[in-house]
Each structure stands twice: as structure tokens, then as C-alpha cells.
Amino acid sequence: MEHLIIAPILIPAFAGMLLLLEVRERQPLRRFTGMLSVLALLPVAWTLFQQAAGGEIQVYRLGDWAAPFGIVLVLDKLSALMVLLCTVLAVPALLYACRADDKRGANFHALFQLQLMGINGAFLTGDLFNLFVFFEVLLIASYGLALHGRGPARVRAGIHYVVLNLIGSALFLVALGLVYGTTGTLNMADFAVKVNQLDGGALELARVAGLLMWVVFGLKAALFPLYFWLPATYANATAGVAALFAIMTKVGVYAVARVYGLAFEQGALAGLGRDALWIMALLTLLLASIGVLGARRLGEMVAYMVVMSVGTLMAGLAWSSPESFGAMLYYLIHTTLVSGGLFLLADLVARGRGKLGDQLVAGPAPTGRAGLGLLFFVGAVAVIGLPPLSGFMGKVALLQTVPAPLYWLFLLGGGLLALVGLSRAGSTLFWRATGDGARRRLDRPRLLATVLLLAAAPALAIWAEPVLEATVAVAAQWAQPQLYIDAVLGGGA
């Protein structure tokens, strides 16, 4: 079972490759393969999570080469949690897409699987350059998925998304060049050790490397002023894709957390860029909540909520106490699942309103108004952070652990703006209906997928304690980078 760590990468990878082999475009077979893969990932991710919860950090040496020379995968509590979250999100997202969205372009299922491979790889790898490679895997797959379907709006957004990320990749390479050029290593743990032995010009260069990484991760995470690409990209992606993308920004957050926690929490460059991250995160929070208020489409609104959540998370991370990090992780789980569900919901609404789509103007009521209205209400309450759902728990946890008045103001004020925005949106979509929309029934599997994700809101609230205990345990391990370093480099190194 030692190989289980790599399964979250290999299962979707092989599924993706097999899907490529299937040239005859038998959609049922493709759907089956895709679903089989994500369903197989579920027990794997859960087992890994359980294993990691034991406290031991597992290291998988690819090619049997010892760190720091070969690439290692590292399963600690944090990476296990992220993999699990990704998998849990992927199942409903794919289920939703399997209801015909996957036919709107070529290679959807293969792209979806390889997207998962990239995300899981990014979470698991313990090597900075390998992180770059997995970033590229997940990015190129996301380009394909974001552009899945057709339409000028999607392409316009796609061009922006792609070009910005290409610039980001170039910057990442510069950072990696600096990392190697100063510390002579690429392994994260080794880097953490060696960066603290630097002085003089090399230390200055390593500082720039770290800051450039923040910029790159900030771009992935969609921090101000790097989030402008996100609303259009997410709002124009097909629903299943948008739902899956809810975790993409978290890859950026994860990357910051990982590198920061290992290398910059203490030592020569302690607190690197923390103030800048803090300010950017707060501005993100503020501007994204303004964006929520000003959004003209539901999808765009949800996309801005994703950006808001990034601001919330990064600001929490900038405080980076184990307590705040634990709270942040809880919030991360909540926001990922709920915003994923809201993307699906936005699509359900759009489908039920015909031409108007998810535009926030009065029109025919969506099919299944009462049910969707209820789901919207639940999702909105959760995402705004009103009780009694997960968002409230997350916000309380964050507010308790981040004792900064400014953060409180922005978090609560942002919540208020979101409240106003979402209540307007809900009122327009579900109340101000000018007659009924299409009389078709809601598609059951689509509804199921949406409900599954939005059910996270009550579930995470009811079981807030065990989840928080878990995330706090993750944070506690994260706050002891030496554990990670020892596990990877074998103690003595």
C-alpha cells in the first residue's frame, strides 16, 4: 500500500489516457470511465486522509531516488486534506457535466481527468520544480476545460486567462531559477533548510524568488490585483467545470501555505511578504465583495464570491498562527464546496430561464423555482457567512483567531455587501418572476449534484467540531515544518 500516495495522480492520469484512446466518441463509455475514476479516487483519498491523520508524514520517492535528488511526493495532513477536498468536489462536478455538457466539445472527459491529475499532483509534490510541472498540467487542462463549449465570451475570457497564466508561468520559472541558483536545490524541504543558510546577495535573491512565487501563487489564487481574469473565466465556463474550478484558486492558496510554512515561517526570511499578502488579501476581500454587489450575472456573482473567499483565506494565512490556519482550512473546505455548488445552481437557474440565462434581470421564473430558491437560499446563507450554516462557523473561527480589527471590518462588511447583493439576486431570480419559464422538469442528476455540494453547508455546520478538530490538527502539523523536513530529508539532513 506504500504506492497509495501516488494513486490520486495516477488514477486520473491513466483514466485520462484511456479516454484518449477512445476515439469513437462513445459518450456513455467515456462518462463511465470518468465517473469510475473519480469514484475510485474517493476511497483512495479517504484512506490517505486517514493515514495522514495518524500523524506520520509519508514520503514517496519517485524512481527510488532519495530526496533531495529525486522527486518526492509528500503526504502530510495538509496535502491529504486538499486531495480529499478535490476528490469530493470532483464527483458532483463530473456528475453534473455528464448531463450533456460534456458533449459540447471534444475531449472533455480526458481533460477533466488530467485536470484532476494536475491538481492532485500539485498538492502532493514535495519538489518545487515538480510543482511547476503540475501547475502546468492543471493549467493546460484548465485552459481546455475553460474553453469547453463555444461562444465569443468564453474565448475572450479564455485568452485573458491563458495569457496571464503564461506570464505567470514565466515568472515561476524565474523564481525557480533563483531558487536553484541560490540554494542549489529544488526539493521544498531542502530549500527550507538551505535558504536559511544563505547570506549576502544570495539571500537577497532568495527573497526575490520568494516574492515572485507569491506573485505567481497570488495569480493562481486570484488575489488583488491579479484576480481580474477570474470572474469572466469562471462565469463563462460550463457549470461542471466552473464547479471544479472552485478548487483551482485554492491550489494557489495551498502553494503559499506550503512554501511559506516550510521556508518563510521562521529563519532568515521569516515573514517574507506577509504584510503585502495581508494588504492584498484585504483589498481582495473588499473589492470582491463590491464585485458581488455589482455583478450582473449570477455566475459572475459566484465567481466574485470565490475571489472573496480567496481574500478571506489569504488574510487568514497572513496571520499564520496554527489557530488561524486551522480556521482558514475549515473555511477553505466550506467555500470550495459551497461555491462549487453555487456554480452548478447558477447553471440550473440559467437553464430554467431560457434566453435570459443567469442574468440578474427580471424574467420568467426558473424551472423548479421553489426547490432552486431553497437551494439558493441555503447556498447564499452559507456563502455570506450567516448562521446556522458552514460559512458562519468558518467566519466565527476566523474572527476568533485573527484578532485584527481591519480584518473583522472587511470580513463582516464584505459579508454585508454580499448579503445585499445576493438578496437582490435571489429576489430578482426567484421572486420577481414575470411568469413561469420552461415547464420542463429539473434534471434529477443535475439537481443531485447541486444538492450534494450545497449539502456541505449544513453538514459542515452540524459536524463543525470534528471538521475543525481535523483542520486544527492539520494546522498543528503544518506549523511544525521540522516534521516535514525530517520526514523528507530523513531526520539528520
Binding site: 502546468e136 493546460i140 465569443p152 474565448v155 485568452i159 485573458h160 491563458v162 514565466a170 531559477g177
Partner: protein
């Protein structure tokens, strides 16, 4: 030699930056390509310069092989990305009827 390589990198990155800031897809593609050249060279020189010391075992002293492997990976990935961007530009041209990065038509309208 080092100074000259640094200047090369600086110029490649600089021109790349300038071009990615243009309004049409084509110069952006050029910019990304130039930027990649510069960045690849940057990663390459992180192993320091060495003349006539190819990293082949048994052929005398050897330069640092690791950055070379990294750059090779980066070149391939860069190629894949460039190709995607080129085709995306075509898709943009096809869907919006213009090669403007924001889909703005020359007549000021939007597709």
C-alpha cells in the same frame, strides 16, 4: 561572457514583456515566445556558465546538468503552451472576428 548573457536575458525578457502588453493576439504570442527564451536562459544560467563542459560522463569536466534538464522540460511545456495560445488566437479570430485580445472589433463593437 556573463555580462553578455545577462544582457541577452534582459533584452529577451524586456522585449517579451513589451510585446505581451500589446493589444493583438499575434504580438502577445511573440512576446510569450521571447519571454520564454529569456526565462529559459535564466533557468539555464542558474547552474552557472561553463564552456565546453557538456554534462556527459567521461567527457571531461562537466557543467551542472540539472538546469539543463529543467530547461528542456520548460522548453517542451513552453512549446505546448505557445501552440495552445496560437490556436486560441485563431479561435478568437473565428469567434469574435478580430484578433484583438479583448475581442474588440475594429469598428468598436464587440462580438
Amino acid at each position: 561572457m556573463e555580462a553578455m548573457v545577462a544582457v541577452m536575458i534582459a533584452v529577451l525578457v524586456g522585449t517579451g514583456v513589451y510585446l505581451v502588453l500589446r493589444a493583438r493576439t499575434f504580438p502577445v504570442i511573440l512576446g510569450i515566445t521571447l519571454l520564454s527564451y529569456g526565462v529559459n536562459l535564466f533557468v539555464f544560467i542558474s547552474g552557472r556558465l561553463a564552456l565546453d563542459q557538456p554534462p556527459i560522463v567521461g567527457a571531461g569536466p562537466s557543467t551542472d546538468p540539472l538546469p539543463q534538464a529543467l530547461v528542456l522540460t520548460a522548453i517542451v511545456i513552453g512549446f505546448a503552451m505557445t501552440a495552445f495560445l496560437v490556436v486560441l488566437a485563431l479561435r478568437g479570430q473565428g469567434e469574435t472576428g478580430t484578433d484583438h485580445v479583448d475581442g474588440k472589433r475594429d469598428d468598436g463593437g464587440e462580438a
